[in-house]
């Protein structure tokens, strides 16, 4: 199951080819996933166009991360920036490459972008400093 989420994500990314949120930029990122038996995903972005392989090749950024964290990230449950600040992700090399990559990650499940309007009467009833 776990294998599926990660493979599915990178599979979808590769199928997409041109990823608009990469804004035509270029970078290479390798993900080293897991503790003991390390799984590699190598992502090449050329002018926004993505190719993915399983090779252990050099990259602008090498990202070390555990499996549950990747699963959380590719499903929007873990934000890349907070993971980095928390030490759940270690990035060697170009942090800019990782920052570019995170732009293809989904938002948190349940975020709708919508919120119910609030009336003037309600605002007036709030206790204020």
């Amino acid at each position: 199951m776990a294998e599926d989420l990660i493979a599915e994500f990178f599979g979808r990314l590769a199928d997409q080819g041109q990823v608009p949120t990469f804004a035509g930029e270029s970078a290479t990122i390798r993900f080293d996933i897991g503790d003991g038996e390390v799984e590699h995903w190598h992502v090449i972005v050329r002018k926004g166009n993505v190719t993915v392989s399983r090779q252990h090749k050099s990259a602008d950024a090498v990202v070390r991360i555990k499996r549950p964290e990747v699963e959380a990230m590719v499903t929007g449950r873990l934000n890349a920036q907070t993971a980095l600040l928390r030490g759940a992700v270690a990035c060697e090399g170009s942090l800019a490459a990782l920052m570019m990559f995170q732009r293809c990650l989904p938002g948190p499940p349940g975020s709708t972008g919508r919120v119910a309007p609030i009336s003037s009467a309600t605002v007036m009833s709030w206790r204020r400093p």
Partner: protein
Amino acid sequence: MSASTELVQILEGNTFVVSDSGGDIEASPTDPTGLFSFDTRFLSHWVLTVDGQRLSPLSTDDLHYYQARFFLVPGSGTVYVDSQLSVIRLREVANGFHEELRVLNHQNEAVRLEIRIEAASDFADLFEVKDALAKKGEYQSEPSPGSLVLRYRRETYMRETAISSTAPAVFDESGLTFQVTVPPHGEWKTELHVVTVVGIVDGSQRGAARSRGQRRVRRDMARGLEKWLQRAPRLECDWEPLAAIYHRCLTDLAALRFSTLTMPNRALPAAGLPWFMTIFGRDSILTSLQALPFNSELAATTLLALAERQGTRTDDFREEDPGRILHELRYGELTAFEERPHSPYYGSADATPLWVILLDEYERWTGDVRLVRHLEHAACAALDWIDKYADLQGNGYIAYQRRNPETGLENQCWKDSWDSISYRNGDLPGFPRATCELQGYAYDAKVRGARLAREVWRDMALADRLEKEAAELKRRFNRDFWIDDGEYFAVALDTDGRRVDSLTSNIGHLLWSGIVDKAKARAVARHLLGPRMFSGWGVRTMAEGDARYNPIGYHVGTVWPFDNSFIAWGLRRYGFKEEAACIAAGILQAADIFAGRLPEAFGGYPRSATRYPVQYPTACSPQAWSTGAPLLLLRVILGLEPHHEHLIVDPAMPKWIGHLALLDMPGRWRRMDAYGRGRVDTDRATQR
């Protein structure tokens, strides 16, 4: 304030030290002293004693923004006795801080002394220092023969402070001790290194080359400041204070330079010292705009850094949308654990159109079409955000309402306090709110986006569409926001499309954006310079006479220098040169009284009532956009405007300024000089 309670602050980038005037740090959980880096306090206790005795300061020198020197003598300092010892601490910020400690013996005999430094850290998040929150992780203190490492750990989150010394010391869990003999009329010296370890950027902050590295950083800082000042245009003026104001602004702007982790060799303006040493979309953009005629690198970095973190998805906690430009980015523990949304937080309704405005203005000054081409995708995403994600009222206007009710911002415009947007009678409108200046920014972003589409991206269809939308927006805006009986624009439209009818300084930003119909501009200008709004020093955020008006209310009556600089720019844009000169006169005279460093805001009392501007008490000084205000005002009174490959100069300056010259103005014309002579009589307006 007595000398011993005055705080001393030095900084570099997002690292800063706040200590007492003797150099000691004794922070309580809510006290703003300490060594801070990446929004975390790395030292909360740093106290020097000699033979168990505290020291008292004789004097303190702020040598540079990154360096301070403390002259101390043993004892409490209540009764001054000729001391046989003096102690000098020279402290510099760089990847933590570096402190040279010298003990001078003034006697004819050698003395044996025990010198001790107590050190500890609470690793508080900046937000915790403000709100006094409890910590959730564990502390460790690890002394070794050569160093003391203080550590904080919460799950995988780890921050460290490593303390070492060049002279031999005994390290224990709570500090370090030196047993020294100082020869007669001689001195003893050590260099202390306090290094902060964040662990995001690996390797670079550790290692044996630490002290050599710090010395290099220090030399670079001194050289960097010199170069920064030399590169700026030279100013000559008959009114002497202006040269000092100009120099203060450039130096403060240098201190406010901030580098992101992904662009360590570039600088953008952080919002303010010391608590807002980070990227703020709005503040970084507006300061870059103010400084653009003098330095274009800040603008370029701001554009790139904000594009890098431009929103790409829907996230209600961070209030992120595709294309939205961020509001604030933080690196502390509360952000790391999502107890605060600043990773980054996107709750700003103006940063996105303002980013497009800066992109265009940057190109007009620099001719750097490469950067504009590089940022085409980001610009289109920003323009799309305005129409697709910001129209919360469904009426074609930008509006805001927070989606993060716990830690999001209620007012997502520059007047972000809870009571800033109100009806004339003091009632508060509901949400979403469409404040007027947002519509002006949207209009300007479309007009400028159209120019870039036509001239740089060669996308004629986009240019045509944006121009059509802009014209349509202007037409509707002048109908929907205009208050006929008062002859001004409402501060906002509420959820029912009703005009929120207080009279505010926001109408000045409308002139700046160009959204105001020519026929309505004179009435707007009359209000801005009229007795309800103009205090003699500047334009009040809210007009006297409205229910919530308070001359010392944060956004409801105080005068903000930054606000005034954009209002003056707006007046110029509509041809009100003399009115713009009057505002420049008041603000520059205030700047002179504040020794060149304008506060964030000052009281809205009539000038005749207080004689001196009454400073609004705020934690941050210098504030970036207050620092930028005199720079923008210089542009405004000289009438500097890029036009193709030329710089137009069309001065309208206060008479008492006399002759003014800005030499070697950088731009697409390489270097040009601008001259003016003061001819506008501003005294009547400013003597209010």
